[in-house]
């Protein structure tokens, strides 16, 4: 069993590709007059969030790495480094991503980190880079533990995780409509992921997939993009600032402010951290389930249609 296995940091190597692809998308939109929207401050905020994400990875990555190496020393299993092991690791890591992402929308503690990825009202390739600075503090690294305990080397697990993130870059665009039917059936695509970024009641809390959309179909969270309902991008309550520090930390501040309110029971304080976003001890706010129910009261004709089943 080796500790010294290394793989390239593929996300860092992909940075030139990210910049080139953004420039191509921007020029496409400007000169073709379709395929999405760009706005200066929104794009700059997204790019700064992306840079901050890389910086936080460099600064805090050793914490997750330390935990993974402890697990690697504990496990008696070592699957080696054959190509099929890497491929299997990629698929299982994508399943891991599905659940971390689902937790990221259903547990406020994790949402506090993930929310900034959804905080743009635009949907273009810069939105893909609007990533968290605080992922380490969600402790979602533990969801990778089973992979390592099964015998996948930590370096391999991080490598396929990087490939997963790179795959997800290109799906953050309105410039691509739909891919061939077989591809849409199997893979996460721009169409599926536009739905995930929609703040429409219909599109809340669905399409969590990273690479393979089959996970959503398997676990009942898939909603197809509707031709008659364009996704309205952003948050249910959109931010009133482009300040990257506020974008990065606003939900953490909101959550701890809620938890610190006087007169709450300890259970209520805990629920502000672990219940779905929008949970409130006095019922004055709405979770995504409540928003869907309210929508159906106003639009009963939508009952039974995708997203309201």
């Amino acid at each position: 069993m080796t500790d010294l296995l290394t793989y390239p940091d593929v996300v860092q190597y992909a940075v030139p590709f990210f910049i080139a692809a953004i420039l191509i998308e921007l020029l496409w939109i400007v000169f073709r007059g379709k395929g999405g929207r760009y706005e200066t401050r929104d794009a700059v905020t997204s790019l700064i969030m992306g840079a901050g994400n890389v910086a936080s990875g460099i600064a805090l990555g050793f914490l997750a790495w330390g935990v993974f190496m402890v697990l690697w020393r504990i496990t008696p299993l070592d699957l080696g480094t054959a190509w099929w092991v890497v491929a299997l690791c990629f698929v299982l890591d994508d399943l891991r991503y599905y659940w971390v992402h689902r937790f990221g929308h259903r547990i406020r503690w994790v949402w506090a980190s993930h929310v900034n990825h959804h905080s743009s009202q635009h949907y273009n390739l810069t939105t893909a880079l609007r990533q968290t600075w605080t992922g380490t503090f969600t402790f979602m690294m533990v969801v990778r533990a089973p992979l390592i305990l099964l015998g996948f080397h930590p370096a391999m697990v991080l490598f396929v995780g990087g490939l997963n993130l790179i795959y997800q870059f290109w799906i953050h665009t309105e410039a691509i409509g739909k891919m061939p039917r077989w591809f849409e059936a199997l893979m996460n695509t721009p169409s599926h992921h536009r739905v995930h970024h929609g703040r429409n009641a219909r599109y809340l809390d669905c399409n969590y997939a990273g690479v393979f959309i089959v996970w959503d179909k398997l676990f009942g969270t898939f909603v197809p993009e509707q031709e008659d309902e364009r996704p309205d991008y952003g948050l249910v309550h959109n931010l009133g600032t482009f300040n990257p520090l506020r974008v990065a930390f606003h939900e953490w501040v909101g959550m701890f402010t809620d938890m610190a309110q006087p007169g709450l029971t300890w259970r209520e304080r805990l629920m502000y951290a672990i219940a779905p976003p929008g949970w409130c001890h006095d019922g004055s706010r709405q979770t995504s389930d409540g928003i869907k129910r309210s929508h159906l009261q106003r639009h009963p004709e939508d009952r039974g249609t995708p997203g309201f089943e």
């Binding site: 706005e39 200066t40 009202q121």
Partner: protein
């Protein structure tokens, strides 16, 4: 990748993309021109509200919205908008208009340029609602 190359790439990339979007005229902020536009912008954020009167600031960057849930303000966020209720907000007069302090980390404050007459009207509505 060596760190100094990564940093150079990132900084230059962000600066170039920002410059291009600005040069292509993609920095123009949203301007609310009609009451219907302001009403639609509010209902996009608060779809359950019943909207009453709408008061658009002269520059179109913000509008005071009277609703059955109390007053709120909808305002430009780049090319888009956001809407915020005003319960708990602090209103201060400035030389050019009003400053609204939301006491919300995600939406700290908004400066609304208003001539004296409109300023008085906004303050009256906000005082009555308080």
């Amino acid at each position: 990748m060596p760190l100094h190359i990564l940093i150079t790439l990132v900084v230059a990339g962000i600066a170039f993309i920002a410059l291009l979007t600005w040069a292509f005229g993609l920095s123009r902020p949203l301007r609310l021109k009609t009451s219907d536009e302001a009403r639609a912008a509010w209902l996009r954020h608060w779809p359950e509200d019943t909207v009453g009167a709408v008061h658009i600031a002269p520059d179109g960057a913000a509008a005071l919205i009277e609703t059955d849930h109390g007053p709120g303000v909808v305002f430009a966020m780049g090319a888009d908008s956001t809407g915020h209720r005003l319960d708990g907000a602090e209103i201060r007069e400035t030389p050019k208009g009003l400053r609204i302090i939301f006491h919300d980390f995600a939406t700290p404050r908004l400066d609304v340029p208003l001539p004296p007459e409109a300023r008085a009207r906004w303050q009256q509505i906000l005082t009555e609602a308080a």
